[in-house]
Symmetry: D2
Subunit: 331 residues, 4 copies
């Protein structure tokens, strides 16, 4: 039974806490949150204790930490946890600065602790079904990956301002999915973007609509389309064209009800947002982290995956700024 310390008991932290309780091989020992009441209540619910970061890291019975705090604190918490010898699960990103990421991952490497990044989409049952089918070879070799990724609506201004912008905040998930499905590092990136959907995004100096093209040395390519606003709900689809045909993952509707009237046949919108669509993914992601710790193999997205996705996001920002294609180097 692995003992877990949860850092951050906000929206995402609560989801991970629930999933820890569903996993028979681990349990929550400590809850750390700046808001003491939240920490105490969460601890109570799961039979854990509300403590400070220092106390949690000092306990040699804690095997792993889940970092679900605000972005600004990630790199610091990763380093402190690594130095305390804890296995680490961290929500993306490590940091918005690639230099800070590099320094942080160096500490992780030196401390030789496992670090899983929360690229939860790899654990969505639909996407993992697609990936497994690709890996089986049944559809031949990949030629093109297309990713449609749209949020139902833009986050509020204060979030936008500290988010690092569309590419580092939202597209970063798509960059990871693209790398995962291409199974080859892209060598160039081109992005075009505009602010069309949300006045407050434009005012914050960010973009909300984008197309990003990735090219690999082998000739494989990928395209990501993004929007911060889809009136019909959270749009998360993937198409993979391969030598043997096409694999498609569609959205999951709120229900399978459809209504046929003189106006047409109306079916349900996609599940509202990531908490609904990726509920299973969050659970399976945690299971993968725990299973990986048990067998000592990191067969999940690691710090390096987070770093590469950030490099791609930075390149997209530069592509927009210059209007030019960017070469990608991950070394």
């Amino acid at each position: 039974m692995l003992n877990i310390a949860l850092f951050g008991a906000g929206r995402i932290g609560q989801i991970h806490a629930g999933n820890v309780s569903l996993n028979p091989d681990c349990q929550l020992k400590y809850i750390v949150d700046m808001n003491h009441e939240v920490a105490v209540n969460t601890a109570k619910k799961y039979g854990a204790q509300a403590v400070s970061i220092e106390e949690a890291l000092a306990d040699s019975d804690v095997h792993a930490v889940l970092i679900c705090t605000i972005t600004e604190t990630h790199a610091d918490l990763i380093e402190r946890s690594a130095k305390a010898g804890k296995a680490i699960f961290c929500e993306k990103p490590v940091d918005l600065s690639i230099d800070r990421v590099d320094a942080c991952l160096e500490v992780v490497k030196t401390q030789k602790v496992p670090l899983m990044m929360g690229f939860n989409r790899r654990y969505d049952p639909n996407f993992s079904h697609l990936k497994n089918t690709l890996d089986s070879g049944d559809i031949g070799t990949v030629e093109m990956v297309t990713i449609s990724s749209r949020d139902p609506e833009a986050p509020p201004s204060h979030y936008i301002k500290s988010s690092g912008g569309l590419f580092r905040d939202m597209t970063i998930h798509d960059f990871d999915v693209a790398r995962w499905l291409l199974n080859e590092e892209p060598v160039s990136l081109y992005a075009t973007a505009s602010s069309m959907t949300s006045e407050h995004v434009k005012e914050a100096g960010d973009v909300d609509t984008a197309i990003i093209t990735l090219t690999c040395k082998s000739g494989k390519m990928a395209v990501i389309t993004n929007s911060r606003r889809a009136s019909y709900g959270y749009d998360q689809r993937v198409e993979v064209h391969a030598s043997g045909g096409m694999l498609t993952v569609n959205n999951m509707p709120e229900s399978t009800l459809s209504m046929a009237t003189e106006k047409g046949i109306t079916s349900q919108k996609p599940m509202a947002f990531f908490l609904e669509r990726y509920a299973a993914a969050y659970r399976l992601e945690l299971d993968a982290f725990i299973a990986g710790l048990s067998v000592g193999v990191e067969n999940y997205p690691i710090g390096e995956d987070g770093r590469k996705a950030l490099i791609m996001a930075d390149a997209a920002v530069k592509s927009i700024a210059t209007g030019q294609v960017q070469l990608l180097t991950f070394d």
Copy 2:
């Protein structure tokens, strides 16, 4: 090149006339219609002549007749055409009275002329694809056939009154499809029906909503659901459950456009009515008639199929009247 005489140049007659012109192996020689102007105009369009029934049947160069007149005249025209030695295509039904049908088919039998009944649904590319798949054995042996058949709206009162009622007018097509797909004669029939959708249908003493169950000796069964009104359009679907799985034919939408908004995802209604949905079926049906004449084989629905469908319709009427299950005998 087969010479054709068309009896009746109304809505359906015009469709067959157009299809004759598209078939390279036949041509319209004569048009017969009570409305002389219609006959003349149609003849002009297709390079044919407007003549009387007598003139058309007297011409030994006429190989086949297409009977597209009103129901009341079908049996008489079949008999006269048979006695004149013509191959006959007749829109359903032969007659609304089974005794009249029996007498008429006796004449056809004596004269040894081909008689094809216009059960056009067998030639719908979707239904024939299903039938061919069944016949291939790929899905095993049939266990249950379910037929959904709904008109967009009830015909006007005068039509209802002379139609023979829901079962003889509308369900008769479904009875033929059921026999065709079961590939075994049903031995009993139960129908329940009511007048729910159209006040004028009720006033005409007819029903507009029905469920009919058919049972075969082998244990195979079928169910037909009917309505005279489907606000979402002409609903023509079939499901066949077999030992190896399920075959389904869905409606054909007006277009493949769908619109996703905050209200849901709306796709198009089915094609409006039989002229649209069965446009290809009418064409392929005529081609089958002509091809059958060419090779001398009646591999299409014949008079006996029309007779059996009428026997089933009569049984449905009796089932409603008595509230009881009816045994079916076709001898």
Copy 3:
């Protein structure tokens, strides 16, 4: 916080136990199971105690019992629990004999305790979405309900033999759904059935393929199609035709992946069986029971619903035996 005693910790009992732990307003206090080890382990997992029926019912702190034992024990446990003043949730059926059911429900009535029957399909999010839409009036008044209900494969012989037969074991759920959606009691029933899919079902004297038609006084009607074997998986669909159009609930696929190759476009089969398809329904069903107890209103399927569904199943058995339509009386 309501204290719950669970009677029966088998497959279904485990599901309810898990759902109790997810509901913030109740907790498991006692586990009763003939297999002491199972009882002890389950009790341990949920912080409960393994006790005897007598002990559980004797504790005045127990507010409600969940009866998840074998069918033969249901009526007896309901009576004992009622006499002990406990609120009761019972898996269907109360009993396979209508006389026993009547006697049992009389006891419940006398004791004035709540009794919820486990007709879980009413809590499937897809079906309840359909029902809510019907109740909203947006689609007008109901005219016809069609229910497709197929199991992936027949249960083993020993199950079949003690099941009460297809209609009392499997169709009983569909009878409840039909009554719920028709919102009017049917007055007659006709069933046709055969043994086509599973040799051992035939040997057990049961049927595995059936069509059941229900007619209401208002003219509304319903049809249920059943099979004990659907190679493509658990098939649970509903269509409701109403004056304003059609509502349809389709199956939920295992994932939204589809594969397009030269052989066609292949999407996923429906979720494997009831544990997968109705996972959410089981959870929401328990929540409804607990919520109903909290507010003192039985807005869920009660004993009388179980009784009426059994009367319909008995009528279906008689319809098959006699080949005749059966009148339904629920008084």
Copy 4:
């Protein structure tokens, strides 16, 4: 009744000939083809005459010409027809050289004759339904257009070599659709491409897989994905994201049959290729040409549309060659 001269009676010429015969407002007067036998047979079929180009253009009773010859002859035939005062319908492209196109269109302009380019996709009922819905304003203002366009397999080497390459031969249709749906001229273009699907395409120095991104001044954008090979058939889909939601046009399947087995649910592939998918589009395109001549309004794709699509194709070629984004100028 407009008299038509058909130049080129090959595959596409035959389609237009058939559609002329279906249009009540025009008739074929002359057939011109290098293969005299083809010309004679086609003329015979439609009651026309097989003549030379000179004869056809010299007849003042010829109102319009349909140019369906090989690409190399288009510009010359347009000029000669224009000088003869004929209205012109020409299959794309005017020419593969932009200079030649400019010169040719200058002649058309001077002669003031109508010139319709055969961008048939605008007349596909699915795409025109989408366009009409956009124009209605029901879905708000366009933000992003995504076009999926894949051929079932690459054409043979000799075709590839004289085709002008993927962008001028195949993508040119997509460029026209993009401009039509964006309703604004793009100002920059980026293309990435590779040879992945067909060895003989690579040997011919052409590409077979491509992603092309277009950006407009307003911030609207479009992405086109292409492949010369889709094992699942001719893939022709469009998605438009607008302020009010998303419009989607899907492929038309060969039939609506689906088969559910233990392997999944298999539906039919898209219609095989352009002759099937765009059969209705070819007919409606010709109707639009004839209707436009009747009312004297060119509300169809004109020479300038052909020119702009070619400029975009040239820019795509340059983008591939340089690896850089290309600015688009149409003046």
